[in-house]
Symmetry: C2
Subunit: 371 residues, 2 copies
């Protein structure tokens, strides 16, 4: 293999694959596969569950392929002393990266050892509304558990119900986030069935959307793998094989009590309350009465905080409960408008956060038992 | 105690004491002492070796003193919802921080438990040239070992020789940094004797300099404590009681060979070479011949790098040796000019870095034995 490639393009391509490169595990997973063919260089990395490939223009003098440690290769590209690099490999088990007065060699592994075959490139893709997909993912990603357990699944549940409404749901034993959007609006013309996208896969789709040019974002499903691509890169995501909790039963369609609260003022209060929490003492207390929200936190040892916010609430029902501060803050953080609604049925059944500007969004959390 | 204080002044004062507040150890050391008197509030913190006090204007309604956890107090001040705060304490073992619709309470400790008496405030201070003091400290601080051992002292050695030249010296078993400046230039009219300022103390003096207003910086020594102050804050630093290695013997006054090298280009090369080092393999190889510096790094496992720089060297002596990359980079980083000089007597005796723009600066490092 021998190619001339622009520094900026190389940096961008290598940056794109870093998030799936594994530092631990088999050495091949810390490498990026580099393949030169037809005036393009393909960069490919995988951690078995996720794979990313990126195509970049280059002058291909001699076709071929090799591998190199993805992290070092990226760092050399970023710091490279000239705007054009020459990449060269032969059978010596190394990649040469050359400029006029500088030469770098990185160790290569056998390209055929790369686990590429388990990813299908010939998938049927459908376009979708990238902006709405971004909304659906970013408003629910925060509640995906970092790791799965028997009570929680570290993935985002996505399905299209019989009314043609897509639901995106994340939850653990204590909270839930849901975003609903009509299939026609989302613009996806196929039904993937019920799928669970792993946490890291959701992040990668968000990156594909963030990086998309005018041509937009395309999705496809083939067997148990979800594919997302833009005009520059493709990511394949092995879907989780699990059954998702029956969340619908915990979201009552009607919550009779509703208070409207400023997002900014509430988040500012939470930042101060957070000073009065620690690893063990994580909750804030909310007390809602007509026109007033009282928020308090802390204990004698940490110190105590109490604040009042004016709110729009005319109901007669007084609400008092305690919630995990971070869960509240995450849920309010996903609201698009300047205010959010706090809704409830009864004190014991937890609280709901909804967005007057975006009726597709609902968050729920359980009260914390603090005494 | 009862005072009204401006948020911005409180934030600045509490920020200034954070660096000496200890998270571990006796609880009192994680607190800041707050003392209101004569229209001023004094904030004081100490870790026994260092102490800082800051005076801030305030409306003192009732004089008195208390303590509060320094970190939480600072965080509340930063996030405080109004521009003026009321601080209040009585005998209830707490500090109240109040605004119209918010109240915060932090736990207090007994102010008389604060170890304040061991620091003398009535010291004879002398002004000094703050800009030159900053230069002397920042060009030598990098080589102060993080912790002391029988071979290295975690402090900066300062003394004034019989010719009236101040020397600032830091070193460990492998490298040394020295800055020399005439007493008259530095403007210090007293001789502190031979002192060793602990690493953290050097950082605090640099902060005093960085924060100084037009009135400048003043120094004083009283027994084994060095004091540095500006118009807003004072730091006291317990000096190290140790004997410093006889460094003069390893710096020969004449180094017959000298190459002049671009600071920028050299540091750029080092950044790339650093990609080919790791926790164990830390060195770069330098090869100096007429007009050319060859720099290389790495091994078969990490990968290998080689670059050439044009340099100003007309000598006949060829120099080849290996040095710790970080030590080289630190030493060149303290050079003021656009070029530095690499000087040597013989390959086996290490290398020197000097600054054509600033003859007061000399750095030295031992070669690394790599085979």
């Amino acid at each position: 293999m021998k190619v001339q490639i622009e520094k900026d393009l190389l940096v961008k391509a290598l940056n794109s694959v870093q998030s799936v490169v594994e530092k631990k595990g088999p050495p091949i997973l810390s490498h990026v596969l580099v393949e030169a063919e037809n005036g393009k260089v393909k960069f490919f990395a995988t951690d078995f569950d996720l794979a990313i490939w990126v195509y970049t223009d280059a002058v291909v003098v001699e076709e071929g392929k090799t591998t190199a440690p993805a992290r070092s290769f990226f760092e050399i590209a970023k710091e490279f002393p000239s705007q054009t690099l020459e990449l060269k490999s032969d059978d010596l088990g190394r990649l040469d990266i050359l400029a006029e007065k500088a030469s770098f060699q990185l160790p290569s592994l056998e390209p055929s050892d790369f686990p590429v075959d388990q990813f299908e490139e010939e998938v049927e893709y459908q376009p979708c509304n990238a902006q709405l997909l971004e909304k659906a993912l970013s408003k629910t990603a925060y509640a995906i558990p970092v790791s799965g357990s028997s009570f929680s699944i570290a993935g985002l549940y996505v399905y299209c119900d019989s009314q043609g409404v897509y639901k995106f749901v994340s939850c653990d034993a204590f909270r839930l986030a849901r975003f609903q959007i009509a299939r026609d609006e989302l613009g996806l013309n196929f039904d993937p069935g019920e799928i669970i996208i792993p946490r890291k896969g959701v992040q990668e789709i968000l990156r594909i959307i963030g990086d998309a040019g005018v041509d937009g974002v395309f999705l496809g499903v083939h067997e148990n793998v979800l594919y997302a691509k833009n005009d520059r890169m493709t990511v394949s995501i092995r879907l989780l094989d699990a059954s998702f909790p029956a969340f619908d039963s915990i979201i009552p369609p009607e919550r009779p009590n509703k208070a409207e609260i400023s997002v900014d003022l509430f988040q500012q209060v939470l930042r101060r309350m957070a000073i009065f929490t620690n690893q063990v003492w994580k909750h804030v207390n909310l007390a809602i009465s007509p026109g007033i929200l009282e928020i308090s936190a802390g204990n004698a040892e940490i110190g105590m905080a109490q604040e009042e916010l004016s709110i729009n609430y005319t109901g007669q029902e007084v609400f008092k409960s305690s919630f995990n501060l971070k869960y509240l803050s995450d849920a309010v953080g996903a609201v698009s408008g300047a205010t959010f609604c706090f809704e409830w049925s009864s004190e014991m059944e937890g609280g709901f956060i909804t967005d007057p500007e975006d009726p597709g969004y609902t968050a729920f959390f359980m009260p914390m038992v603090t005494e």
